[in-house]
Symmetry: C2
Subunit: 340 residues, 2 copies
C-alpha cells in the first residue's frame, strides 16, 4: 500500500488558457482519517470547465483565486479505505469532491455511494458516474426535463453537443420525442454527434458560412436552446430560435479562460423573441438524481444512449488533458484514470 | 366641422434624445373614409417610449427608420365619425393606432370599442384607456399576473415605478398580497410612488449611494423584478434579487434614444442567481384584456388603485412633451389632449 499521496498543484495562478506546464505533481504523506472520516483511493478524476472558473475564484464553490501550491478541485470516483465512518465501509464505491490527486479524506459530506448493481456492469462502467450518469448527466436531465420541460415534436438546439452535458441533453430530448440539433467545433465532432448520438444535424461553428449554416440546419427554428457557452454563440442561437422558446443558461465556456472575452447579451433579443431564459446550477437538482439514474442507466445498458469519454492515464497527464479540454479539443467526458 | 387634418411630422430623422424642434405641425386635407372604413376624431394621443424605437426602425411594428415628413405612431382615443363600417357607429368611443394627428382613418383592424359604462364615469375618464386601463395597464397585468405569477408575501421590485406600466405593476402586486418597491429618477417621483401609489419604498437611482440604497430598501431581497429599463439598472437590480427569482424584461428605456448606450447583460448573473427571465411583448396578451379591465376598472372607481397622468394640450406641444418623456422628466402616463 502506498505511503504517499501524489497530487497536482498549480505552479502559479492561471492566466488565460491553461497550459500543461502550469501544473506539476508533488508528493505528500498519505492522509490519515480520524474518527468519523474515511480515505478515498481515487480511480477516476473528472476534468470540467467549471474548474477553470473555480481556480479563478469565480465559481459558486470558490470566491478566491487559486495560487501556487493549490490543488485544483474535481469530482472523483474512488474506493473507500481505512473507514472510521458508520455509513461508508471499506470497499464501497463513492463519488465525491476529491481534487486532482490520488487520495482524499472525507467526512461523508457530499460523498455519494454508488450502488453496486450500477457500478459493475460491462455497459455501465464505473467511470460513467462522473459523466453520463454523474453531474454532467444530471445537469442535462435538469435542463431538458425540468427547466425546459421538453415536449414531443419540439426542436432542441444544443451547444458543445459533443461534450458530456450537451450529448446527454440531445439524447434525452430525443428519448422524449423531440428532435436534437447540435453545435460543435469541428467536422469530426459533428460527425460523432450525428452518427453516434443520433442528433438530426450538427453544425460546425468554426466552419465558414456560420451562423447561416445554423439557420439552414433548423428549417423549423429551435424551440429550446441549451447553452453551455454564452457569448456570441448564444446570440447566434437566439437569432434562430422560435418565439416563446426557452433558453437554459448552463455554462459560459466562452469566458472561463478570460472574462475579458465575455460577450454580454443584448436584451432586445429575448424581448423580441418573447423568450424564457433560465439559469441552471446543477447543485439545486440533487433531488432528481435517483429518478435520473434509474431512468438513464437502463438506456445505457441497452445501448440506446451513447456516451463519449476522453481518458488520459496518470496524474502527470492532468495538466495537458485540462489544457486540451479548455481549448475545446476534447471529445466527450474528459477524465484522468489513475493507475491502480 | 374641420376640413383639414393637422398632424405632427418629423423635420428630419431623429438622432439621440429627441428635441421639440425635431417636429413640426402640418395641415393636410381631411381624410375621407371609403366603404368599410371610418374616420376617428382624436381626443387623446398617447406618447410612449416605444415610439422612439419605432422611429429608429427598431420596434416590432417598424423595421425602417422614420424620416422627414413622417408622422410618429401612437395609440389614440377618439370618436368615430363618417362611418362606413358595420361594427363602428358614429359617436362610438374607440382606441386605435392613429398617430400624432387630429384625425385618422381605420378599417377596424386593431381598433377597440370602449364600453360606454367605462368610458364616462368621473372616476374612470376616457383618457385612462390609454394608460391605466390601456396598453400600459395590460402590460403591467401580463407582467405581474401572467409571466411573474406573483404570490402573496413576495417582494416585487419595479423600475420606472412612476410610469404608467411600473405604477400599475406595483399596485397590482400589492392587490395580490405582495410588497412593492420602486426605482425612480427623482425624490419627487419617489414621494409620489410611496405616498400616492402605496409602494413600501422607492429608491432614487440618481441620488448618491445608489445602488447600495437599493439593497437597504430590500432587507429580504426581491423575488420579482419588472424591468422597463435594461442596462446597468437591470444589473443592479439582479444583484439584489433572491435566488430563483423572476425577471420580466419589458423595456429598454436606457437605450431607446441611442443603442450605442446599451449595456448588455453579463450572463453569469442570471446563472448564479438561478433566475427565470421572460421577455414580454404586450401584443401577445390581447386575450387577457377583458379580465384585466373588468378586474382593474372597479379598483380605479373605488380609488384603491391610483394613476398619474402628464397631459399637454394641443399638437404643437407634442414634440416638447415627447422630449420630456424621453428625458425621463414625465410623471405618469404622458398624453396629448386635443382641443375639441
Amino acid at each position: 500500500m502506498s505511503s504517499v499521496n501524489n497530487k497536482v498543484v498549480l505552479k502559479h495562478a492561471l492566466k488565460g488558457l491553461p497550459k500543461a506546464h502550469d501544473f506539476e505533481v508533488k508528493a505528500e504523506p498519505l492522509p490519515e482519517p480520524v474518527d468519523g472520516m474515511f480515505r478515498i483511493r481515487h480511480l477516476y478524476i473528472a476534468l470540467d470547465p467549471w474548474q477553470r472558473s473555480a481556480m479563478a475564484g469565480r465559481h459558486a464553490t470558490d470566491s478566491k483565486p487559486y495560487g501556487t501550491g493549490d490543488t485544483p478541485p474535481a469530482e472523483i470516483i474512488g474506493i473507500v479505505e481505512d473507514s472510521h465512518h458508520e455509513s461508508f465501509a471499506n470497499g464501497d464505491y463513492v463519488r465525491a469532491m476529491g481534487g486532482w490527486q490520488e487520495f482524499s479524506l472525507s467526512n461523508g459530506d457530499g460523498a455519494k455511494l454508488i450502488k453496486p448493481d450500477l457500478a459493475h456492469t460491462d455497459a455501465v462502467p464505473i467511470s460513467t458516474h462522473l459523466g453520463v450518469l454523474g453531474m454532467p448527466g444530471l445537469t442535462a436531465w435538469a435542463s431538458i426535463v425540468r427547466l425546459a420541460d421538453v415536449q414531443p415534436g419540439q426542436t432542441v438546439l444544443v451547444s458543445a453537443a459533443h461534450g458530456p452535458v450537451g450529448s446527454m441533453v440531445g439524447q434525452i430530448a430525443i428519448k422524449k420525442g423531440a428532435t436534437a440539433v447540435g453545435i460543435a467545433g469541428s467536422d469530426e465532432k459533428c460527425q460523432m454527434v450525428t452518427e453516434k448520438l443520433g442528433f438530426s444535424a450538427c453544425v460546425n461553428y468554426k466552419a465558414s458560412g456560420y451562423p447561416e449554416s445554423l439557420r439552414k440546419a433548423l428549417p423549423n427554428g429551435a424551440d429550446i436552446y441549451h447553452d453551455n457557452v454564452g457569448g456570441q454563440m448564444l446570440i447566434d442561437a437566439i437569432n434562430v430560435m422560435n418565439e416563446y422558446g426557452t433558453v437554459v443558461l448552463c455554462g459560459l465556456i466562452s469566458q472561463y479562460n478570460d472574462p475579458a472575452l465575455a460577450v454580454d447579451l443584448p436584451l432586445a433579443l429575448p424581448i423580441m423573441k418573447r423568450l424564457t431564459m433560465k439559469g441552471l446550477v446543477v447543485y439545486d437538482h440533487a433531488d432528481a438524481e435517483d429518478e435520473f439514474v434509474s431512468t438513464v442507466a437502463p438506456w445505457i445498458n441497452d445501448g440506446s444512449i451513447r456516451y463519449l469519454e476522453d481518458i488520459a492515464v496518470g496524474l502527470d497527464s492532468a495538466g495537458a488533458q485540462f489544457a486540451k479540454l479548455m481549448r475545446g479539443d476534447n471529445i466527450g467526458k474528459t477524465l484522468i484514470k489513475l493507475n491502480p
